[in-house]
Structure formats: C-alpha cells, structure tokens
C-alpha cells in the first residue's frame, strides 16, 4: 500500500487483522468467527473499518458505494430501556462492522427451535467496509428521557426553506442510523438487524437506500457523478484536511455541550431530481446551471477539475463566467463567509412517481460543526437563488447530533447517558 492512504483506512486494515485474530482466539470458532474467515481482509473495498475511535466511522471514512439510512422513533418511555437498546445496538454494530453476525449464534448456530439471531443475508459476505453511524434527533431531547437540558444549541429544528415540499413520512426522527458499505446487502443487513433488535423500543420511521456515492471524502477517490451526470463534491472537505475538519466538522469543547465534543451534526435531505426535464436541457444550460463543464468537471473558465473556481472571471458583455445563480458559486465558501460542510450523499431511485417518471434524486447527507452557521445559510442561498432549484424538490429532511466515537467497552451515546 502506498503512502497516500488516509489514516483511518490504514488503521482500518491493521485494526481489522488484530480484531479478527482476537475473535478467533477468544471464542469458539463456530459462534463468533467472522462470516468468512478464509478471506484475508487486505482489500479496502472488502475489508473492515474499525468501529472504535475518537470520532464515529462513516464520516471521514472513504465514502463507500452504497448506503442504507434509517430514522427511528423511540417507542419506550423509559430511559434505562433506551440505554439498554443503545448498548445492544453498539455490540451488534461492533460485530457487524467487523464482518461478524449480529449476535452470538447467528443465523444457523443457535437452537433449531429458535428464530435465528442473525437474519442471514450477509453470510459469506466480507465486511465490505461497513460503517454504522448513529445520530440523535431534536425530538429525543423533548423530556421523555430527562435529556431536555442536554439538547445541543446547534441541534435546531431546521427552518422552512423556500421551495421545501417536505413529506412528514420522510422527515424527522428521534434517532438515525447511517449504514454505508461497498456491498448493498451488507448495508441493508446492518439496518435490518438493528431494527429487529429495536422492536418494542424503537420503530422505523423512514428509511432511504442510496446506490452510488456522490461525494469523495478522501483525496485518492475519484470524484463520482450525481444523476445530473455532473461530478459532485470536487471541493468537498477531505479526510486528509485535518485543519478543515477541525474548523468545519468536529464539535469542539468551545462549542459544547461536553457530551458532543468530537461529534458533529448530520443534516439529511431527500432531494428529488426532475431528471426527465433535466435531460431535455441543452448541455450549455446544464453547465451554466452547475457552473462546471460536464466532461472534465472543470469550473467554467478553468481547465481541470481541481483548478480553483475563479468567481471574478467575466466573459462577453462583462457577464460572469460562473453565473450569479450558478450552483457552485452559491455553494462556495467564498460566497458563504467561509462556511463549508462535509458532504456524503448518495444517488437514489425509488421506483416511479406514477406519472411516468423515475422517483430519482440525491440523498444529501452533510456533516458540519454548527448547522446554524453552515448548512442553514448555504441552503437558504441555494433555495433562494440557485438556478438548479427548478429541477429539484426537497421532500425529506432530518437533523441529528452525531455523538463522538465510542471507546473500547463503551456504547453509542455513553457521553450523553452517563
């Protein structure tokens, strides 16, 4: 492996080997062995990403190709039951991200008279870089669990943005879980087993599948394309840019509250894209709307994808090369008082809309240090002035505080529930 690999992934590969060896040595091979012990986890695509760390995995982890995102309503009103659930979920998440089944005994190792403890569809599959990331929604802090005074100031109820057409059945939630993997079956397996463990205590409110990443989160990843056919996330914050992560993503002890330090805020938006209309739009107009060339991904007026956009270049008649209502101008930190976010969205298609069109779009996931000063002004600018809005419809929304990473022996949210 070359020196260019991001730290988390290097650790991931080393850590995975250690964890697998440990599992095999400590417990009986039948019950706790990895699903596919013969596979050497040397490939970053198939290998394991460590669950434990300063920050949760699934944020700066090299964006995997697939995602299953779910929001839960907490059904129990007892704090201890919620805490027990978070502990059980953590155990299952540690196992699954490590390529193991969700529980001891698994799909076929338990009593023949009992339903299997793991649902089984990920048997034989490698860890596939699965990460599972949890977040706490504003409604979790409504008083049911004695958390009202712990609600982070940044965990606002998002304002209504112009053009919002939000479906309550695709919005909100007490908890969210983002599962990302390079194999869709592995991501779905993770969500399905967590939902199963949650029965009686948490129930699925809404969920979203994503089939292709629309952002790069490390510098060695090729910039992927969204369903408009354009490279997306060229200027995203990357895992290697620790200063930017520090400034724009991780909640610091200056921000507070203490339990969220090392965590971040996750904003999810289900953005339907009117791709049929877009596809009838001329290449020139598409490029003007985005502010980039479709082929190379270069900002208008530049040559290569990673040439910095120059917002001060003008063309014939003194009109800006990157239009005043071009997407990349409005979303740029130059136009937003320096505000930046880490994006980790996915393309989706969910069947059709009943009018002969695909229900397709981009499931936006963004992480930022303070949604009030980062995502909100950005989305206000876009919703108000972005030419692209003519082709977009925001119909789902969620906002969650993402607690810091879990230390060995800890559980999701242990800094909050201590």
């Amino acid at each position: 492996m070359s020196g260019g690999l991001p730290r988390r992934r290097l650790l991931g590969l080393a850590g995975a080997g250690v964890a697998l060896a440990g599992a095999g040595a400590a417990v009986g091979a039948v019950t706790a062995a990895p699903r596919r012990p013969e596979v050497e986890n040397t490939s970053s695509v198939a290998g394991a990403v460590p669950f434990h760390g300063e920050h949760q995995a699934g944020i700066t982890t090299a964006a995997q190709d697939r995602m299953h995102f779910v929001a839960f309503d907490v059904k129990t009103t007892k704090r201890e039951e919620l805490v027990a659930l978070l502990k059980e979920w953590t155990d299952a998440a540690v196992r699954m991200t490590n390529g193991q089944e969700a529980a001891d005994g698994g799909a076929v190792g338990g009593s023949a008279e009992a339903p299997p403890k793991d649902t089984g569809e990920a048997l034989d599959l490698p860890p596939s870089a699965l990460t599972i990331t949890i977040g706490f929604g504003p409604s979790l802090f409504d008083g049911r669990f004695g958390l009202a005074d712990q609600r982070p100031p940044g965990l606002i109820d998002l304002p209504r943005f112009p053009h919002d057409d939000l479906d309550p059945n695709r919005s909100g939630g007490d908890l969210c879980v983002q599962a990302c993997a390079n194999d869709p079956q592995v991501a779905v397996h993770a969500i399905r087993n967590l939902a199963r463990i949650g029965f009686g205590r948490a129930s699925v409110r809404w969920s979203q599948l994503g089939f292709g990443r629309t952002s790069s989160t490390t510098k060695d990843q090729v910039t992927p394309r969204n369903l408009f056919g354009f490279k997306d996330g060229t200027r995203n914050i990357k895992a290697e840019e620790s200063d930017l992560l520090h400034d724009h993503v991780w909640v610091s002890d200056k921000d507070g509250p203490a339990w969220l330090v090392g965590g971040t805020y996750l904003v999810a938006r289900r953005i339907r894209m009117h791709i049929e209309i877009w596809d009838r739009t001329s290449l020139r107009e598409q490029e003007e709307i985005v502010g980039r060339k479709k082929g190379t991904g270069a900002a208008l007026g530049q040559l290569d994808e990673f040439d910095e956009p120059d917002l001060h270049v003008k063309g014939a008649g003194g009109l800006p090369a990157i239009g005043v209502d071009a997407h990349i101008r409005l979303a740029s930190h130059e136009s937003l008082n320096g505000a930046r976010i880490l994006r980790r969205g996915y393309n989706f298609t969910d069947g059709s809309d009943g009018l002969g069109h695909l229900d397709a779009g981009l499931f936006f996931i963004g992480f930022n240090r303070d949604t009030r000063t980062q995502f909100v002004p950005m989305q206000n600018a876009l919703a108000t002035r972005d030419k692209m809005m003519e082709y977009l419809e925001h119909n789902g929304s969620g906002h969650f505080a993402v607690p810091p990473g879990v230390r060995e022996g800890g559980f999701w949210g242990d800094t909050l529930f201590r």
Partner: protein, 377 residues
C-alpha cells in the same frame, strides 16, 4: 421559473464569449500555441503574444505590481469580451476567451481597478464562425414571435385590470371567473415575463416558494383569498400592486429582443413548466384551475414553434412532422377536458387522465428540446 436560456443566449449572441459560454465538449486549443502570459505591473502590461487564431485563447495573468489589478480583453467600442477582476499582488489568474471571429482587439491591465487601463493591441486571425442571427428566416421568426408576445401582453394587462377591479369591488364570483382567464395570457408568455427577475415572484410566486422577508403577493395570494380564506382586509391593496407589477412587466416584455435560440428554449421551458407544476396540480392549489395554465403553456410553446416553422422545415423537416404529431396528440387530450367556457378542475381529473396528459407532455417535450439544435445548425 425557467429563466436561464434568455441570459444564456444573450451571451451566445455576442461575437465572442468566454469558454464558459461555449457549446461544451471542445477542449481549449492550448496545445497548439499555449497560454499567453501577461505580466501586470503598476505601470506596465506585458502581453507575451499579441495575436492568436480564432478558437479558445487562454491568458495567464500574473500581478507583479503592488496594487490589486484587473485584466480585460475588449472588442471595438470597448465591448467587453472577457475580464478577470480582483487579481491581488503576486497572484496568477486565468482567462479563457473563445474568439469566434477575426478582428482587432485590445488588452488592458487596470492597476488599482480604475480608469481605462494600460492598453495594447491584440489581433485575432483565421476563420470565423457563422452566426445564426444573420439568417433572414430567423429574423422573420423572431419578429413574428415578438408580435405574439405583444398581443398577449396587451390582453394580460386588459384581463388583469378586469380581475383586479372585481377583487376591489368584492365581487368574489366575478373575480373567480376572471382569475384563470387573466392567467392564460401570463402563462402563454411566461418565459419572457419570468426573465425580469424580481417581478416574477411578486406576480406569480406561490406561497411555499416565497423567501423569508418577502411578502406573499400576486395572483396566488389573491387566489388564496378568493378560494381559501375569503377576501382579506388587504386584498384590494394586493390587487392594486398586482396591476402595478403587471403593467411594469408588460412594458418590459414589449422591449425584449429575442434570439431564435431563445424562442426554441422558451418553447421547451413552457412544457417543463407543465411537467413540473401543472401536471401535479401544484400551480393553482386553491382554485384547481391548473388546466387553464396547462393549456396556455402549450399555446405559448406552440406559438414559438410556429414562428420558427420555416426554419425547422428547412433544417430538419422530419422533426417538424414529429412536432406536429405530438402537439396534436396533446391538444386532443386537453380538449377532452373542456367544460363550459373553460376546463375541468384538476381535482375532477382521474388518475389515468393525469397520467395520459403527463405522458403526452413528455412525448412532446423530447422533440421540442431538439428544436434549438436544429435552429443553430
């Protein structure tokens, strides 16, 4: 709200444009003669090469001075072909200009970003690109469409006046009857009207799209008053403002100079409006008179295509056949929904009827989206 092409074509209509505005796909011809470096000092503007062939010309400007500077490329009469502003001392920035025609140009550095700058001559040689705007058939097409816009604008003003009078006289039923009629003329020339940025949301903004700090006014505010909440204390004032705004937009619409590409894109945008707003019943959510707007958008699209007809006939006759066929199919479907002087309400349509209309709009949208290319041939 489809406003982009109007501006897009304004750029394209100029004889040169930055790479940003050129048709895409082509890579800059940097390989053959490379970028032209410019050293911009406080008292000098050293352009390494002062001639280029037609095609993309790339300048790389380095500010060697102490003041923030700008670099310009001018055509005759100081018409701007390209510029880079705000080049700080020590910085290097890039300007790519597509030179479509041969000619004598001027370069300029403007240390301190003021004045005429330090000028130099610059020559472009080689073959130019033919402009579609010189064709007389195309010129006739734009004139004909301009006449259509003028006549619709006159009717828009007349019918809006009647509607506003009814609202102010608290004649609710009269006002309700006039609402979809006045909107017909608006919807027929929507892309033209919408190109005047701020006026569009004031006249036609829906409640859910009004940005924070702006008031909900215009047709849809009065629609809500008439159908949903009943007349409000400020309904007459809102009506007055609507008329003022409509007067302004009518005056402006009559002065717009359209290019053939704008006509083609306008025809397409009108169908996009149908596909995203009218087919879903989102446009007139209180009155449910969406089919009037639907009809009017299709009328407007048809009028633009009709104006371009001789041009399309000459350049792509097969496309014209398809257009006629698909317009007729959509017309037939729409006419089935006639009721009295107007149309059924959106809420009276069955799901299969909506789906059939949506499919017919898509079927027409595809060939209409090919008109611009045919016109530009």
């Amino acid at each position: 709200m489809f406003t982009a092409p109007l501006r897009a074509t304004l750029v394209a209509a100029a004889s040169m444009s930055v790479l940003a505005a050129c048709g895409g796909g082509s890579t800059p011809a940097a390989g053959t003669d490379g970028p032209i470096t410019v050293e911009a000092a406080d008292d000098a503007c050293k352009v390494a090469r002062t001639s280029a062939n037609t095609g993309n010309v790339t300048f790389e400007i380095t500010n060697k001075g102490t003041k923030v500077t700008e670099f310009y490329l001018y055509a005759e009469g100081d018409r701007i072909l390209g510029e880079v502003e705000n080049i700080g001392p020590g910085l290097t920035r890039r300007l790519i200009v597509e030179a479509t025609d041969a000619g004598k140009l001027q370069t300029a550095c403007k240390p301190g970003m003021v004045g005429d700058g330090i000028r130099g001559d610059f020559t472009v040689t080689g073959e130019g690109r033919k402009s579609v705007d010189t064709d007389t058939k195309l010129a006739d097409a734009t004139k004909e469409y301009q006449r259509y816009v003028n006549s619709q604008a006159d009717s828009l003003l007349a019918k809006t006046t009647e509607f506003v009078d009814a609202v102010k006289a608290a004649k609710v039923e009269d006002a309700k009857a006039l609402f979809p009629v006045a909107r017909l003329y608006w919807e027929r020339i929507e892309p033209v009207a919408e190109s005047f940025g701020d006026l569009d949301p004031k006249i036609d903004g829906r409640e859910d799209v009004i940005e924070e700090g702006l008031e909900f006014t215009g047709f849809h505010r009065l629609e809500k008053d008439l159908w949903e909440t009943g007349p409000q204390a400020d309904s007459p004032a809102i009506a007055d403002r609507l008329l003022t705004d409509v007067k302004e937009i009518v005056a402006k619409a009559k002065t717009v100079e359209l290019t053939p590409l704008q006509l083609a894109n306008g025809a397409k945008e009108l169908l996009d409006e149908v596909a995203t707003g009218k087919i879903t019943g989102e446009e007139d959510r209180y009155s449910h008179t969406d089919l009037w707007d639907f009809r009017a958008n299709v009328d407007g699209s048809q009028a633009a295509i009709a104006a371009l007809r001789p041009v399309i006939q000459e350049k792509d006759a097969a496309l014209l056949t398809v257009l006629d066929e698909k317009f007729k199919a959509l017309d037939d479907l729409l006419e089935k929904q006639r009721k009295g002087d107007g149309f059924k309400l959106y809420t009276e349509l069955t799901e299969p009827e909506v789906k059939d209309l949506a499919a017919a709009v898509d079927a027409l949208g595809e060939p209409v989206s090919k008109v611009a290319e045919a016109v530009a041939k």
